[in-house]
Amino acid sequence: MAKFSLPMPGRRFVIGVPYAWLVLFFLLPFLILLYISFVDMGNDIHPFKPIWDTETGVLKLKYENYWSIFRRSEDDALFDTIYIEAYLRSIWYALCTALLCLVIGYPFSYFIARSKASLRPALLMMVMLPFWTSFLLRVYAWKGILADQGIVNQALMWLGITNEPIFLLYTNVSMLVGMTYVYLPFMILPLYATLVKMDFRLLEAAYDLGASPFKAFWLVTVPLSRSGIIAGFMLVFIPSVGEFVIPSLLGGPENIMIGRVVWDEMFTSNNWPRATALAVIMIAFIVVPLAIYYHSTGESADNRK
């Protein structure tokens, strides 16, 4: 039987166009990023300088761009710089966000997966709908909601929980509310996808064998949804680490994350080599959990064999 395939020139065109685009706009920029992170800018404002000795042609990489991230220049104290602090804070917020999304999203996905089959598409649609409306505007709304005179504080005072407004905005609270709010759908969708495929008769079997609901849930449901939990966790964690908009709108000076630090290093301090070095390390923070993720999914696939 004839197999549909394009003739050679067509095939070359189909592969070539996206390939060229990606090399030009992804690979090349990334290599430039890597290059600049080793440049010694000196007092020059022009970052495109050779990283080799122009006379001998020997490579001359400026590792100091990276070292200065880990070592304080005044007293050589290791790991006690604003950069390390910002990295750790970003990872911490991303972890907290992923955990909060899991705690809120797991029961939610579970209940949707167990609702009437005819209801499920509508419920999922309702999860997706806010996702399609501007992320920026939805974050911005929280600024009004959490303000000192905002509706949350008004409600708390009306309920008599507090007499004067609690500072919610520009704190850890507003940061985590905003980040959880934005990334919750990324947790719900993969969780739902695994939970809806689960055979709930397994739970009944566990009950029949005398397991308490909690034990059955912990020993049957949770392990069966493991892949969804991991996928959701990654989908929330990875974009959260580099979050730029939410700390700018809902965070205070105490809540600066690494994305903002890269920006400031680039446009305020004009230290391009350090900004790029910070970005390169940031990529490492994304690649390591991803590698673990692929490793773990590859392993579980092997186990099933």
Partner: protein
């Protein structure tokens, strides 16, 4: 007893999470009609913020720029995404395939700050050595398309993978040329996914702040950039008005798209049924 309790808890939890997801939207829609700057108390109905919106030239200019950028990005992303999906699904073996699939997927996990920064370096470098392109609309479109293409590829790839290839083979056997097969069989089959990819990358572009902030030039500001600038300064109900218009538009488009998809599916089912009937009568 437990199941009754379970049902109540489940309803309560679903309700609470939906409240959480929708509160900001309803909040903005309500307070866009407020007649004062008050954020916590609705003092009276007015359209003054909508009026302010139409008179704010920065918002209006930003809106039109965003529409242009998002439209071009959507089209480019859908085309490149279709190409990329085709390459990944249909061409199992060609030199550099691993690199290719890595490069298509990478923008999905890269922090936007890193994408913006590296593209900025590319543009600055190009400007130094070639004197082109100037930072502005063009550079923003290039940046958005890098991201949009990755998302478009994912959407189209999944449709292409579940597509029944035997129809293509049937067309080939009936003597169709490869390009005829593509335009008459393959393309109509994945058209829905291409439209979804266009909508997704349009939305991503229309919503993006970070990449635009890195790549835009002086005086060139997309709508999200203008809003971001206002938002950092404090509460401004004009933005609520803009948000309300956006929410209404998006909801309408999504409902229209769902209706269109449902109608397409029904029409195809009817056509298949009709074809089957015709076949049985012909045989009889």
């Amino acid at each position: 007893m437990t199941s009754l309790l379970h049902r109540h808890i489940s309803k309560l939890w679903l309700g609470m999470v939906f409240l959480f997801l929708y509160m900001p939207l309803f909040f903005m829609m309500l307070f866009s009609f407020n007649d004062t700057r008050q954020d916590a108390r609705f003092t009276g109905f007015s359209l003054r913020w909508y009026e302010a919106l139409t008179r704010d030239s920065r918002i209006v200019d930003g809106f039109w720029l965003s529409v242009k950028v998002a439209t071009v990005t959507g089209v480019l992303s859908a085309v490149l995404g279709t190409f990329a999906a085709f390459v990944l699904v249909r061409y199992r073996r060609f030199p550099g395939r691993t690199v290719f699939s890595g490069m298509v997927n990478a923008p999905l996990v890269m922090p936007e700050v890193v994408i913006g920064l590296s593209l900025l370096l590319l543009m600055v470098g190009a400007q130094n050595f070639l004197g082109w392109p100037p930072r502005g609309m063009l550079t923003i479109i290039m940046g958005h398309t890098l991201l949009g293409m990755a998302y478009a590829m994912v959407v189209i790839q999944s449709r292409l993978m579940e597509m029944d290839r035997s129809i293509e083979e049937a067309a080939m056997d009936l003597g169709a040329r490869p390009y005829q097969v593509f335009f008459l069989i393959t393309l109509p089959n994945i058209a829905q996914a291409i439209l979804a990819a266009f909508l997704l990358s349009f939305t991503l572009s229309f919503d993006d702040v970070v990449i635009s902030e890195f790549l835009s030039g002086p005086g060139v500001n997309t709508l999200p950039q203008v809003i971001f600038g206002y938002a950092r300064r404090g509460i401004n109900p004009t933005i609520y008005a803009a948000a309300t218009l956006l929410i209404v538009t998006v909801t309408t488009v999504i409902i229209a798209y769902s209706v269109w998809v449902a109608r397409q599916t029904r029409r195809r089912e009817r056509e298949i049924a009709a074809a089957m009937r015709a076949e049985t009568t012909a045989l009889a």
